[in-house]
Symmetry: C2
Amino acid sequence: VAIRVKPSPPLPHRITDLAIIDELISELLCDNHPVAVGISFGGPVDHSQGVVRLSHHVPGWENFAICSYYQEKLNIPVFVDNDANVAALSEWAFGAGVGKSSLLYLTISTGVGGGIILDGRIWHGMDSMAGEIGHMTIDPQGPVCLCGKRGCVERLASGPYLADDARTILREYPEKGTILRHIVLDELEKITAREIGQAASQGDDLSVKLVKRAGIALGIGIGNTANLLNPECFVLGGGVIAIGDLLMQAIVSSARQTALPEVKLNIYPTALGNFSPLSGAVALAQANLVSIL
Amino acid sequence: VAIRVKPSPPLPHRITDLAIIDELISELLCDNHPVAVGISFGGPVDHSQGVVRLSHHVPGWENFAICSYYQEKLNIPVFVDNDANVAALSEWAFGAGVGKSSLLYLTISTGVGGGIILDGRIWHGMDSMAGEIGHMTIDPQGPVCLCGKRGCVERLASGPYLADDARTILREYPEKGTILRHIVLDELEKITAREIGQAASQGDDLSVKLVKRAGIALGIGIGNTANLLNPECFVLGGGVIAIGDLLMQAIVSSARQTALPEVKLNIYPTALGNFSPLSGAVALAQANLVSIL
């Protein structure tokens, strides 16, 4: 059984999250008897201890031993990992990376996260912190990111930052972004990456510029990672990727320019879409069951 | 038996290199009977096929099957890998990274190269191209590198580029770098990273600036790699590192600023120095013998 835990901002506590999950579990299970549970958690976890470190969105999750909590309830093995890692495993097991020896998954969404699969296993690093491609510095003179540094990939390519930058420019330059303004009927706070993508596809000057800048930033991040790790493929998911061709072309061309000529590059869109963290929880349970059996 | 193959520019062909190596081997072996040979090659190799791809310095090495060449001569198993990979393995097996689960080795020298050890094994990547941290773009507006891109770590931190940049500035600004000028007695072509380091330690304005810039570039490369791979340690070798404290402090402080606060950083100087590619050839033979026995 796969459970995807995405802490939900409107009900802001772990207790309420767990109540919803428990209800869903009973509905889902009925009379089924699963052999293991895989959990995809939307935040940093210590996978080896089965403990959530925290949720960046919902309080109460700090150091919560989620695996033993469900292990006691269900009396079967329970495994947890971070949602980007789980999505990476999912694309490797069932999606765009089937049969590849190594894969780097990027989700470009509220943030820019990543998961690394090497020889068919999630690479966690020393502190379970591996995969933070979103905070790769690619322009030390660039704008300041929430993390405090300048010119992170995330600062230049995440959905909220794209929207923020669009709003700032629209407010300052009344002549720019006519199509984007029209799409949101001048209600600038309604702008998201989706409207920017829509406006860009209709030729909006400002939106095209922002989408290209995001693509170049992502491409430099991918090219740098290719030079360093030389993985067999990159798989790109997350809402911002839905912007489509203009963004993908900018990513691929910038990644190709950044990677050394001898470094081959395979960049695919997600095959599983939003479903990847969920099917990945199944893959996580399967992979761990095999290793403990 | 460990053999370090570093193609030597004054004798510019594989044939002459091999003749020298053959002579050294007979001297070295005498009546010893080694069980395997490890080769550290100063250029790209296909380790799985035992084939040298090319030497960037000496012609004739293109696609040379070095392992079968020595296997036929010596009738024992022969293994080859790129010198940065071998040096990384060496630091892990015998040097600064003993007991660590993962290690990233950087050599800052004529170029900036890297080798990655994950779970005690060299990570090669799909095309044996992993470890090219030297060509990580860290400043898209930076100076142009030999590889054609702007602002690579190597462009900002390798010995020859440091010397080039010093010469360019000294020629353009007669008032700058008085101490450095004095050290080389105004013969600017004599400047290497060593003289720049020496001048910097005596407070030379230009040299301090160049060393700090190199340290910042290396630190961004290391911090970015820490965010991505979260290895247990970084080990730094190569002639430029001999510049010492001023450079190391700039590297550590810039790496710490670049890595996310949750990402731990351990940065050590090489424990084996120039000896690491050679002792690494022993480690390479040992590791491969274990895996085939």
